[in-house]
Every structure is written in C-alpha cells, then in structure tokens.
Amino acid sequence: MTNQMLKSLASALALGASVFATGALAKSDITIAMQLEPPHLDPTSAAAQAIDSVVYTNIFEGLTRFMGDGSVVPGLAESWEISEDGTVYTFKLHDGVTFHDGTTMDAEDVKFSLDRASAEDSANAQKALFEGIESVEVVDPLTVKVTLSEPNGNFLFNLAWGDAVIVSSDSIENIKTNPVGTGAFTFGNWVQGDSITLIRNPDYWGDQPALEAATFKFISDPTAAFAAMMAEDVDVFDNFPAPENLAQFEADPRFQVLVGSTEGETILSTNNKKPPFDDIRVRQALAHAIDRQAIIDGAMFGYGTPIGTHFAPHNPAYVDLTGTSAHDPEKAAKLLADAGYEEGFETTLHLPPPSYARRGGEIIAAQLAEVGITAEIINVEWAQWLESVFKGKDYDLTVISHTEPMDIGIYARPDYYFQYDSLDAQTLMETLNATTDPEERKKLLGDMQRLISNDFVNGYLFQLPKLGIAKAGVQGLWQNAPTAAVDLTQISWSE
C-alpha cells in the first residue's frame, strides 16, 4: 500500500469519525412529509391548504396568529387598541422586523397587504375575511389604524388566517416561486414534485428556532407514505392519509402517534336547490338514513368525532346536535313516503379522492340503499370536483370535508355550492358579525348551529381527525390543526 493510499484512508476514517461525532448531538434538521404539494407558495391568492402547511408562521406572519390550541395571539402586532364602538383597531407593530430580503417591515407594508387583500380585484381566496375593512391608515412607521364599516367580533381571528399574512410590495411579484416574508425561516429550494426546503433566518426578530433547516416532502400515495414512514425516510407525517395503518405505528416504539382534531367538518353535501333535495323531508330522510358511527368505523377506522351540525366539537360554542339526525332508517323511510317517494329514488354521489370520501361514500351509498335510495357512485379527481361540483353546482350529493376554521358563515351564502337559501340564516349571520360580546356571540353561534341542523341542509358526518405520526424524539408538534400549518418554530428534537 502506498503512502498516498494510507493518507486518503486515514482522512476517510477521520471524516467518518466526525460524522459520528455530529450524529451524537441533537438533530437540527427535520423532514416533514405531507400528502399534497402546494401549487405555488402565495398564501394570499389561493385556497390550497398545502400552501399554508409550508409557509404559515414559518415564512409569512400576520398581525395576529393561531397557536396550536386554536387561540389567537399577537404576531407582528405587538399590541392593539379597539375603539369604544368596536370599529377602529389601532395596531402597534414590533420594532426591528425585517423581510428576508433585508427591507424593513413597517406600517406601509401592513397597509399594502390589507389593501391588496380587500381590493376589488383581489385574488384572495378568503375575501370575506376583509370585507368589513373601510380604510387602513399609516399613523407612523410602527402604528397602523384599521377602520371597519361596522363592528366585527371576529376581526382579530380573521387576521390570524394564512390569507391575511403581511407581504412586501418589493417582493410581491415573485411571491409564488420565491416567497419573501418576515418569518423565522427563509425559502430555500423547491424541487417540483418532490420537496421544499426552508432554512433558519438568522435575522429573525423573535426567538431563534431550534431547527436549522426543514424539508417538506410530498408523498401522495398512502402506500408510499406508509413505506416512507416505516423506513424512517421522513421524520414526521403531518396528516397521515391511511387511518388503517395507525395501529401499527402505535405499537412501534420508534414512533409517536398524535391524534387530534382539525377544523374539517366532513359532510354529505346536498344540492338544496335540486329536486328532490329541495324538500326538507327528503333531506331529513337522508340524515336519518345515515349511521355516523358505521362511517367513522368503516372509513376512518374509528378516528373522528360525530357531528350533528357544521361546527367543530372542540370549539367552546359547539352544541351537540347529533340527536336531531340520529340513525333511524324506519323514520327515514316514512319521511320519504310522506314526501311522495315510497319507492325511493335514484340519485348520484360524487366522491373526491381522499379515502374519507371514497370509503365514506361507499358506506353512505349502502346505507341509503337500505331506505330505498339508489345512489350511483361517481369517483372524481379534485380538478373535476372543483369544476363540476363546487363551481358548476352540477351534482346531487357529495362527501367533502370543509377544513376552513369557523366557516359556518357559508350557510348565509345562497350561491354557495350547496345552495342553501335561508333568510333566517342570513339575518342570523349578519347579527353575529355585528356582535362583539363573547357570550352573546356564543349564543348566536348556537342558534345558527341549531338552525342548519333543523333544516337538515347537509348530512353532518364527523369531524376530520388530524392523524400525525412522528419519530419518537420529535417535540413541539401541533396535535390539533386549528388551521393548516406546520409550526417549525416550536419543533425540536429531544436529546
């Protein structure tokens, strides 16, 4: 063996030793798997939840923000004052906040962001959040005054959404491919179809996060997801797509399973304008034909909380109305007979790709068959679902999870895809939006829940669970999902 070879061998050994040395310290990077890849990275112009999962609180921050327990806390706004009549919000911004491109974040950026979101031609997916904003004024570089046309008890909550994050006019042009925010992580790299990498922002205004880098990996196929997790190719699966595999992870000491709740009300959406579903007796019959527990057991392997209205059970204002639409096939058959459908009828059931919809839909079709309703299953891809069901309103029944937080307001929109046109609901929502007193709001929310439950607008099935899986050493993950987010600032590895 020549000297040269010996030297290179020695250096290779030394290199190996140094790798082992760093391996002994706590890991400082993490790989998080998600099912869907974001279409782009601008949370202010698309509804795709996958965008928020990557960028919310990591790259972009808003004036307020959600915590893992659903509470709303100050974000870029240090504090605020609300005028007596509840229409003027004066936000005091954090000092020394910079965007990732080095420019300073000040009141001008807040004005730009809010004006952009509430503009007539705004591409924001949740424009309703900003509807009440009358004007945004820059008082001084760190103070901004927002005037509402009428009091809105939800305003601080609305500002916490990923759709309301603060962006800079300097970098807005390329936001979709090169997002520049104020968060603790900067955008690193995007390998289309595979992964997105974020890197710690050394100039972050708040506390430095424990992680130096994070990779979001996109694995859409449930079988591949299972294999990747089992092979420890990924450290965390944000929301695991196959509930049937959870028991295996629970039994394995290498992993921890975090079963929580999302804001996803999973419902049997019903086209309220389309006969025979314009008849409340038919809708009530649907509701009584459905056995929620069988759907939860069969489609979700037991994970999920039954709901009787369009509201998240973990919310303090939730009213348990599952009794209104309890499983009662005989009553369902009688209601159908009253409505003139003794022989039942034929209808269609559009099912988007997630397993809760495909499997849940098969079970629902079987349950409807028991009361004489023949529902033809039509499996559709997301694009087709959005086009024909959501936009085109050309459907009878569909199974879908509504994952936006506190979205009961959709029942006051008669042009929404389930086409529920109720003056009562519209007036109630108007009163609710104008109410700021927490107790009064809670009462009104209860009334709204009862109203849609008694009108049997849709079949209310279950609250979609968040099924998180992580390696045993990962700490600080959100158990619940008050909004789609993977809050990297809180995540660390145990020693």
């Binding site: 449930p222 299972f226 595999n245 295996q248 069988a294 098969e362 079987a366 068959a369 039509i378 499996n379």
Partner: protein, 271 residues
C-alpha cells in the same frame, strides 16, 4: 389430449362456474356491509374472510369473476366481430388500396400502448364497465384482423380455392364459405389468449379506478383497496390476486392445449 389442456379447462371452468353460480347464489350479499366484522381472516363463516367493510370476500370474488368475464368476453367479441371481417377483406383484396388502408389502420392502433389509450378513453368518456369494454375491445380488433389475414393469404393460394373460383364463386362467398371455416381453429386459440389478456386489462383498469364502479365488485379494485392493509390483512390482496392468476393461467393453458389439439399438422405427427 394434453395435460395442459385438461388443467387449463379445469381452471377456466372453475372460474366460469363461480361466475355463473353467482347469478343465483352467493354465500352472502356481496354488497352488504358488516363493519363490526371487518377484516376477518378466512374462517368457517367467511371462507375467504371479510374486507375492510366486513363484506364477504368469497361472494365478492364470485361476483368479481362475473365482471371480469363479462368485460373480457364482450371485448373479445368486439375484436372478433370487427377484426375477422377486416382481415378476410384484406386477404381477398390482397395488394389493393383497401388492403393497404385496413392493414395500415391496424398498424396505427397497434402502435399505441393499449392500456394507456384505454385509460384515455375511460378518462374522456367516464369510468365504468361499458367504457372499459369498449377500450379493451378496440385493441382486440387489429389482433384478429392480422391473424385472419395472415392465415387467409396462404389459403387463397390453395387449389380448392382455385376450384371454387373456377366454379364462379365471388370473393365474399369464398371468404365466408371456405376461408373462414379453415381459420376458425386459429381464431379460437387466439380468442382464448385475448380473453386472458382482457381479464388482465380489466383488472388493470379497475385497479386505477377506471373499471367497474363500486359497489360492483371487481378484482382489480379489490387489490387497489387492499393496498394499505396488506401488512396486517394479507388475505385482502392475496385472494383477488390469486383469482386473477388462476384465471389467466387457466386460459393460457387452455389456449396452448387447444392449439396443440386442433392443429392438424401436430395431430398427424402424434398419430
């Protein structure tokens, strides 16, 4: 008769029998959900166990056989009904522009990857058994057209055809009365092979969700549904997988055996 032929015939008739019996009897209602009894391994009550909704797998396999056979049978039927006349015409008009058009058209269809086009057809016209049949059927046409033309061409050179022409019969009559009976053996053998390919194609299409739609059971979809559960309920994938293997193996052995049995040259050699 060869061992292959007998084994092939037994396996094929087993599946055919299951499909036929399913019209009058299955152990359980194949569509009845029984969620508390889901994912049972094979046992005395459920011979093939139950699936993730507690449905009886044995009943589903029986009805699934029906779906597979129906799709493959009609698809082969389409292929024969259109392909054979095309092949006969091309052979009768050998070298003419008609021959060229037919055979180049065949080449064109052959050139496409069949399953990909089948996916395209079902994607455009919607998923379902009918569209799967049409998609698979279209790709059977050139197979039969080619094989018919090839066999017919050599027959046209034979003396008994010359005799028929001398006696004044036209090309159409000769094709129907003399050529077709003499290529029938070949078509039966090819039909058996195409039938097994049709079963595989149906399983492939329904595996990706483009075949028969739920609640109609289909072997391919049973496999797809089983995917995430293989690690703790292997029977969910093994049983439909075995059903497909048995059917395709049976039909291939049958086709092989039939060819040996029906081919006069081999028969003479054996005698």
């Amino acid at each position: 008769m060869s061992r292959n032929l007998i084994l092939g015939a037994v396996l094929s008739s087993l599946i055919l029998l299951a499909a036929l019996v399913s019209f009058v009897w299955t152990p359980y209602d194949y569509a009845a959900l029984d969620i508390p009894n889901k994912l049972q391994p094979p046992n005395a009550q459920h011979w093939f166990g139950t699936d993730h909704f507690g449905r009886d797998m044995f009943s589903m396999i029986m009805v699934g056989a029906r779906t597979s056979i129906a799709v493959a049978l009609v698809a082969v039927g389409i292929g024969m009904a259109l392909g054979v006349p095309l092949g006969l015409t091309a052979a009768a008009r050998k070298g003419s522009w008609l021959d060229e058009v037919i055979m180049r058209g065949n080449d064109l269809v052959f050139a496409f990857p069949s399953l990909v086009i089948a996916i395209l057809i079902t994607a455009v016209f919607g998923a379902g058994a009918i569209n799967a049949i049409i998609a698979i059927g279209i790709f059977n046409i050139p197979v039969f057209a080619r094989i018919t033309r090839g066999a017919a061409l050599s027959l046209w050179e034979r003396e008994f055809i010359l005799a028929a022409r001398v006696s004044g019969k036209g090309a159409a009559r000769i094709s129907a009365e003399h050529i077709l009976p003499n290529v029938a053996n070949l078509l039966i053998v090819q039909g058996t092979i195409q039938f097994s390919l049709g079963i595989l194609a149906e399983a492939g299409l329904s595996y990706v969700g483009l075949g028969a739609q739920p609640p109609t059971p289909s072997w391919g979809r049973m496999l797809a549904d089983a995917q995430t559960m293989v690690s703790f309920a292997p029977h969910l994938a093994l049983i439909p997988g075995l059903a497909i293997i048995v059917t395709v193996l049976g039909l291939n052995l049958l086709g092989d055996g039939l060819r040996d049995w029906l081919d006069p040259r081999i028969r003479v050699a054996r005698a």
